[in-house]
């Protein structure tokens, strides 16, 4: 994904960093010299603004200062060389470190915009006597600064999305256990929200489980599912039918009133769906189908 993005970014950078004004390059150099010279002061000012705006509260002041220094230097370097790769890499690295500490997207965007603001103010202060020069300086500075802000923000969001994807994957792997409770009897407890992706995975695991355990009866318990939409409900019906084609009977247990309503609304053929009120009832029914008889070895003392 990252390599795909490099090219368009570089092209845009070329377009942004070379406006038609002849002395843009010279202005930019002058600007960069100015930013280098005022490094200490502007950096301090920036950190001060970050603290005032109550951003990056998860980090100590020293940490903020250290990161601010790195960001400042990368920022100026990106302005100077026009290449965003180093900054991009730094942004990704920074995101990796601060996301686990609970830093929010708005904070990262906020600090970059603050830096942009701090630098712009210092430019205003320096060139306020000559309005024409100020205009041209801003022409050179603004597009590059915008591009940098976007790069950092996008880098952060991408990193965040990567983390989310990884977690989703981990949750999915955990989410559909197929358990054998008796010879030829499987149970499939489903808890939480079922999206189409999870529904698909569920079907796959169940059908594979039926083959592997040579199951005759499967109890799908959906007590832990509050509601499902018509697509997923339809998928459930298809799963029941596919299981039958593999020679297994499916018993669905623990349907909530909402799910019952959804199933009736999509017009499910009740002859195909074997449903029992709760998991216990479902397992008892399954045992009956399989010819098991469970009885206590001793008289129940309570009876």
């Amino acid at each position: 994904m990252i390599t795909q993005q490099k090219d368009p970014l570089l092209q845009q950078k070329d377009a942004l960093l070379s406006p038609p004004v002849e002395s843009t390059a010279a202005l930019l150099t002058e600007l960069i010299t100015h930013l280098r010279k005022s490094r200490t002061q502007l950096r301090e000012e920036w950190v001060q603004r970050i603290t005032e705006a109550e951003l990056l509260t998860a980090m100590t002041r020293d940490e903020i200062f250290a990161e601010a220094t790195s960001v400042y230097d990368s920022y100026v370097e990106a302005l100077e060389t026009g290449t965003l790769e180093a900054l991009q890499a730094y942004a990704r690295n920074l995101s990796e470190r601060i996301i686990p500490r609970g830093v929010e997207t708005h904070e990262v965007v906020g600090i970059v915009l603050l830096l942009r603001d701090v630098l712009a103010r210092s430019l205003f202060a320096k060139y306020r006597t000559d309005f024409t020069v100020l205009n041209r300086v801003l022409d050179a500075y603004e597009p590059a600064a915008n591009r940098i802000a976007i790069t950092v923000a996008v880098g952060f969001v991408q990193e965040r999305e990567r983390v989310i994807r990884e977690q989703q994957e981990a949750i999915r792997e955990l989410s559909t256990p197929v358990l054998q409770v008796r010879e030829r009897l499987l149970i499939l407890p489903i808890i939480g929200l079922i999206d189409p992706h999870r529904a698909r995975q569920l079907t796959e695991q169940l059908l594979r489980g039926i083959r592997m355990n040579r199951a005759k009866v499967v109890v799908i318990d959906i007590t832990g599912v509050a509601a499902m939409d018509a697509t997923v409900a339809n998928h459930l019906v298809l799963t029941v039918e596919s299981a039958r084609l593999l020679g297994a009977t499916v018993i669905v247990t623990g349907l909530s009133p909402e799910i019952a309503q959804t199933l009736v609304n999509i017009g499910v053929d009740l002859g195909k769906m074997n449903t029992v009120g709760d998991l216990q009832g479902g397992i008892e029914e399954a045992e009956r189908l399989l010819g098991y008889k469970v009885y206590p070895t001793r008289e129940n003392p309570a009876a």
Partner: protein
């Protein structure tokens, strides 16, 4: 490709080895329906383990086959439908309504044994 039909005790077993054309399917249907009388078999097993697709024509032919066998006094079991094939069939509504399907040949034989026993007792 012709499907070999083996006689095993009171049953006929047809194992499909490779993808079948529509004509092959019809030939299989006719062969089984006629042999069921000659061999006085009580049941027919069609093993489709090797098939990675069962289209509407195949499904309809299998259904017709099962119904015709029933009318000739025997039972049919379709065995070995692959999980992916099963889901695809369910999606297209080809659910072989009213026809027994089992996981594999062994299950199919067990099912027929069971149902013949019940018939004898009843």
């Amino acid at each position: 490709m012709e499907v070999p039909v083996l006689k095993q005790g009171p049953y006929l077993i047809a194992t499909v080895q490779a993808a079948l054309t529509d004509a092959d399917l019809l030939a299989l249907r006719d062969a089984l329906v006629s042999r069921i009388g000659q061999s006085r078999s009580r049941g027919v097993i069609v093993d489709v383990t090797a098939l990675d697709v069962l289209d509407s024509f195949a499904t309809r032919t299998l259904r017709d086959l099962a119904h015709m066998i029933r009318l000739r006094g025997a039972q049919t079991v379709i065995v070995g439908i692959q999980p992916e094939v099963a889901f695809a069939m369910a999606q297209f509504g080809l659910t072989l309504e009213g026809i027994t399907t089992t996981l594999d040949l062994e299950e199919g034989l067990a099912y027929l044994d069971e149902s013949i026993k019940i018939k004898r007792v009843g």
